[in-house]
Amino acid sequence: MPNQNGSVYGLTILSPILDDEKASPSHDLQIRLYLSTLPTGANSPFAKSPGTHLCRLVVMDDVVYVGAPSIEEHLQSKYLVFECNLDATGEEGLEAYLRGLAEHMPDHLDAIWSHCVGYPGAADVQAFIRYMKACQVETTFFFAAVNNKSVTESLRALQTQRAVADFIASSQGMEASRLQAKFVEFAAKLKAEPLPKPGSMGPKRDIKSGGRNE
């Protein structure tokens, strides 16, 4: 199934946006205005809804005319594109993810999708799931660099990577029995540490290298 790559699901949704001459500002602009105020870091609503690796929301105004001799044509509707890379397997997994969105961020969903044709609201979860699936288009080819790890596993691994680097640096030349005791203590402490929040930049550290990237 092209939507699936390992344990990661590639969800693509195109929701037609309401076309109402009387609306001011227009519905597409209202979506854009709302999205511009939505936090993107650890306070993002998608950070609170489990299983989202990366996602984007895009207002697609029209198709693109690439020049003669191709034919110029236009869409009848503008579309809200929701492109999401999430932890799910199959249709049941997708429905569980959509249910999670409806439960964790219903106000945001309503504020965004209420400008779209036929949106039933997130309060009726089944209707919401049906609506999102009606707007889904099948992904033709889906590539994932890491396709067998969940968001939780990836956050845990990044936390471990950082801690292990510090531990190795601080244990250089340590005597064997002390090294073993320190490592056992370190491993237990790391295991008990809370997971970094999705969407966060992690603990603030001094940047050791870097600079301008032309």
Binding site: H53, C55, G67, S70, E83, A134, C135, Q161, M201, N213
Partner: protein, 198 residues
């Protein structure tokens, strides 16, 4: 609007295709999916976290009634969404340099595609068919695709060592720890704020 969040860039592009050509492309993507060895160049471009192509037939744009006007299109459309690390120029340059034949195989079915080499015309085409992202979220903005791959290598080695650590004599542990360091030392790169991009 922002195409960037932390170390990742969201790119969107849409290109028109004659309907019969989109079927050729579907066959190519099917082969690419069935034979993972053909994806090797894409895997080697290790700054791509996720990418997808979505071919939307001209009569398959979602239609929900409720007064929505039906689309009346002559072309099918190929949507491309990529999540990559680095700058737009780095990405397109690398795409063109490493994946030229692969890109041609995918986009040659789109109208007016100039080919991925030379890169100047390719960049002009991508700039024309690209549209901007309004909202972009990532669960790990401080990490690149390579950071993620490396972190999972470290995690696996760490779990293996910590499961046995208490059972070793100090000398055995010191040797196992040295082996662990050798395994992970190339995977301990720093994560954090992205460099300032101009």
């Amino acid at each position: 609007m922002s195409n960037i969040n932390g170390k990742v860039y969201a790119m969107n592009a849409i290109t028109p295709m004659k309907p019969w050509k989109s079927w050729v492309l579907r066959v190519i993507f099917f082969a690419l999916g069935e034979f993972p060895a053909l994806q090797q160049d894409l895997i080697n471009l290790s700054f791509i976290e996720f990418a997808r192509w979505v071919s939307v037939p001209r009569r398959k744009f979602p239609y929900l009634a409720h007064g929505q006007a039906k689309e009346d299109l002559r072309y099918d459309y190929l949507l491309f969404f990529s999540n990559f690390n680095g700058t737009w120029n780095q990405y397109i340059d690398a795409f063109s340099a490493v994946l030229a034949s692969g890109l041609n195989l995918i986009w040659r079915w789109s109208e007016k595609f100039p080919g991925s080499m030379p890169v100047t015309l390719f960049k002009e085409y991508i700039a024309r068919v690209q549209f901007d992202t309004d909202y972009y979220y990532t669960a790990y903005p401080h990490a690149t695709a390579n950071d993620l791959k490396s972190a999972h290598v470290v995690q696996a080695s760490f779990e293996s060592l910590s499961a046995q650590a208490g059972n070793y004599t100090p000398e055995e542990f010191a040797e196992a720890f040295l082996g662990f360091v050798l395994q992970v030392q190339a995977h301990l790169g720093e994560t954090g704020e992205a460099p300032v991009v101009f």
